[in-house]
């Protein structure tokens, strides 16, 4: 139940409103167990009708899950597209008003607006990444449950089914990735040049990430750790498994966040 537990943790940490959009891994696993136990008790040959029926039901549920993912994903995607454009317009307006050709000399207002924009962009970026994470974790869950199904019931469902999953809207996250990258480059224009190490440590000591950002931030950290855990290695390693995760040096940043979850106000 390792993945199941991880998934549950992820769902707990996830953004509000996303919780029930994840894969119903536990239920599917129960169904697989049910199918495998009922199939095991009869000869596969004799029970082929039952088996077919059971498989159909299983597939039916999987399809529902996929519909759910697709719907949620596409809706979020649409929202992100709209927000992306809006953010760009806002930045454009700020540059116009307070930039070199601007009419408003007020620095205070400029700083305020910039500050808001920065926060919004970072949160926006974070949400998009979390959506990609959502997509990925659901895919992983699907792959796992299919593998379980094939293993327990001797079926051949996994391969063809996963091929179809790969083409689903919820898994084709290219657009969102592109938006994320665009966001990253936009951020460079809006943020001042990076400060030195001292101020970073200042931040690590006293987090001042805003309310919305906190949820996103926590979720992001949790997602990274979950990914690391899931890929650490399993008992059935080797077939279609992913290699262990290798996070770059800044993983200490993440660890520090994790160790003091309450520190984030």
């Amino acid at each position: 139940m390792k993945f199941g537990k991880r998934l549950k943790q992820q769902i707990q940490e996830t953004l509000p409103g996303w919780g029930d959009k994840f894969l119903s891994y536990k239920e599917l696993k129960k169904l697989v167990k049910l199918i495998s136990s009922s199939c095991a008790s009869r000869m596969m040959m004799n029970g082929s009708l039952e088996y077919g029926k059971a498989e159909a039901e299983f597939v039916y549920l999987l399809n529902n899950e996929i519909d759910k993912f697709n719907a949620f994903f596409m809706e979020q995607e649409e929202d992100f597209i709209i927000r992306h454009k809006e953010l760009q317009q806002r930045i454009g307006r700020v540059i116009d008003t307070w930039g070199p050709n601007g009419s408003q000399p007020s620095e205070k207002d400029c700083k305020e607006e910039l500050g808001k924009i920065r926060k919004d962009i970072v949160d926006f970026h974070g949400e998009m990444v979390l959506l990609i994470n959502y997509s990925n974790i659901n895919y992983t869950g699907l792959a796992k449950i299919l593998k379980k199904y094939d293993k327990r019931t001797g079926g051949l469902l996994r391969s063809p089914y996963i091929q179809k999953v790969l083409q689903q809207p919820f898994f084709t996250t290219d657009l969102i990735s592109k938006l994320v990258k665009e966001c990253e480059s936009t951020i460079d224009t809006v943020f001042p040049p990076p400060c030195d190490v001292i101020s970073r440590q200042l931040v690590l000591g006293s987090q001042k990430i805003g309310a919305a950002g906190e949820g996103i931030f926590r979720n992001t950290v949790a997602a990274l750790l979950t990914m690391q855990e899931i890929r650490k290695g399993s008992s059935t390693y080797g077939r279609f498994s992913l290699p262990p995760l290798s996070l770059p040096d800044q993983s200490d940043v993440i660890q520090s966040q994790l160790n003091s979850p309450i520190a984030i106000p």
Binding site: N64, D67, N70, E77, L175, S246
Partner: protein, 434 residues
């Protein structure tokens, strides 16, 4: 109106449901399974709690499943595709076998949809309750419209009085459709409406035609501006792109801004094939919310948000906040990077699994005399020699256990070696050429 020609296409293929007697006007498109649909159809019923094993689902009971026996692992979606979107235009690329099979499915799964799950959808957009009531009326004979839905229908003030029975409802529907600027003849529009299932989102994308194991799912997914294939489909979920959105914004601006623009006007201006007024409507709603929400919350934000500190010109805090944001950004970037890598790996793993499978099958065909269990070993060894982390033999029944173990071991070796270099996918491509 652009929707018109589409509707006429729909009508051609329509025939009423056998047991929805009251719904003489509810056309059911006998869309046959024509395409090996790579994408699963629209979101229909996505709000249903799928945990409970299809409880209260609109589709046939599990007793019908036996008829789908032979479909099972090949077309996982299509058998159960009562949820499939309705596609008037058949894009015919599918094997005829499946076609026949699916027709069979249609015939046997003649159970009308259950009303109960529909009530879940009643809270959403304006149009949804209308359709629901249609369904309710026709299926149960009574018209019970949950009052809360009516209250949400700001555009349809007359509903409470109008929906007494099917006929009245339908005729009044026409009037109301006219009111909202959708000018069309009664029937086709009603049919169009009725086909659209209540969906979970304001975007009207669930398209359920209850007993239509539908087919061509090309339309259900992406409908970019340049695509013309799926033109006439009605309530598919639209997958918006930035380009499409640009066109949308342009149209809205031409019409005087988001407040003044009407869905119909925007639709006309955009001139995008396959785009329906429902798509535009829901998108416009989102657009308006996105524009005015940030401005509305400006006031309250100042109090709670730490950004408010900026305004007090506390430089130290300002730097802290910026740095905190930067930190958040870094973590997010990291997650994104890892997700990209993971996704690429997953894709490649499946791709190579598929290649191996094909290779194996080819070998089996060309050398029928050779013992089947010998093949996987060769195939796997040749590919694993190419130092690929993701390769593995496709789960195949005939492959012996020992073979699999060998594969597994080889996998582990290679994966340990390659872990550090897992960030450079191109080198890993195992080209198994024959």
């Amino acid at each position: 109106m652009e929707a018109r020609p589409a509707l006429s296409v729909q009508r051609e293929g329509a025939h009423p449901l056998s047991n929805c007697g009251a719904h003489s006007s509810l056309p059911v498109l006998r869309a046959s399974l024509e395409e090996k649909y790579p994408k699963f159809p629209g979101p229909v019923l996505s709000s249903l709690p799928s945990n409970s094993g299809a409880v209260g689902h609109l589709f046939s009971s599990s007793s019908e499943f036996s008829t789908n026996l032979h479909f099972s692992s090949v077309l996982p979606h299509e058998e159960h595709s009562a949820s499939a979107p309705f596609i008037p235009q058949a894009t015919n690329t599918e094997a005829s076998v499946r076609l026949a099979a699916s027709s069979q499915y249609v015939n046997e799964n003649s159970e009308p949809w259950c009303i109960d799950p529909l009530s879940e959808y009643l809270d959403y957009s304006l149009d949804t309750p209308v359709k629901n009531t249609q369904l309710d009326c026709s299926n149960t004979g009574d018209c019970h419209i949950p009052p809360e839905d009516l209250s949400k229908q700001s555009d349809w003030p007359e509903w409470a009085n109008l929906i007494m029975n099917d006929d009245d409802a339908l005729s009044n529907w026409n009037e109301i459709m006219v009111d909202t600027g959708i000018v069309d003849a009664a029937e086709p529009k009603m049919q169009y409406q009725e086909q659209n299932q209540p969906s979970n989102f304001p975007a009207h994308q669930g398209q359920q035609l209850q007993q239509i194991p539908s087919a061509s799912l090309e339309t259900s997914g992406i409908v970019p501006a340049s695509s013309t294939a799926s033109g006439s489909s009605s309530k598919q979920r639209m997958r918006w792109t930035p380009e499409l959105h640009e066109a949308f914004v342009e149209a809205v601006n031409k019409l005087g801004g988001s407040e003044r623009a009407t869905p119909k006007g925007v639709l006309k201006l955009m001139k995008v094939e396959g785009l329906t007024i429902y798509h535009v409507k829901s998108h416009l709603q989102k657009y308006r919310t996105a524009r005015y929400k940030p401005e509305a919350s400006e006031g309250s934000e100042k109090k709670e948000s730490s950004i408010g500190d900026l305004s007090s010109l506390d430089l130290k805090t300002g730097i802290e906040i910026t740095e905190a944001l930067r930190l958040q950004m870094e973590v997010q970037k990291q997650l994104h990077e890892q997700l990209e890598i993971q996704r690429n790996l997953q894709l490649r793993i499946e791709e190579q699994g598929r290649c191996l499978q094909m290779m194996f099958e080819k070998q089996c065909k060309s050398m029928p005399g050779i013992d089947a269990s010998a093949q996987p070993t060769d195939a796997v060894q040749s590919s694993s020699n190419k130092n690929d982390p993701g390769v593995s033999l496709v789960d195949h029944h005939e492959a012996g256990d020992t073979t699999q173990k060998t594969v597994g071991e080889k996998q582990k070796e290679h994966e340990r070696e390659d872990t550090s270099s897992s960030n450079s996918p191109p080198s890993k491509r195992a080209k198994v050429d024959e």
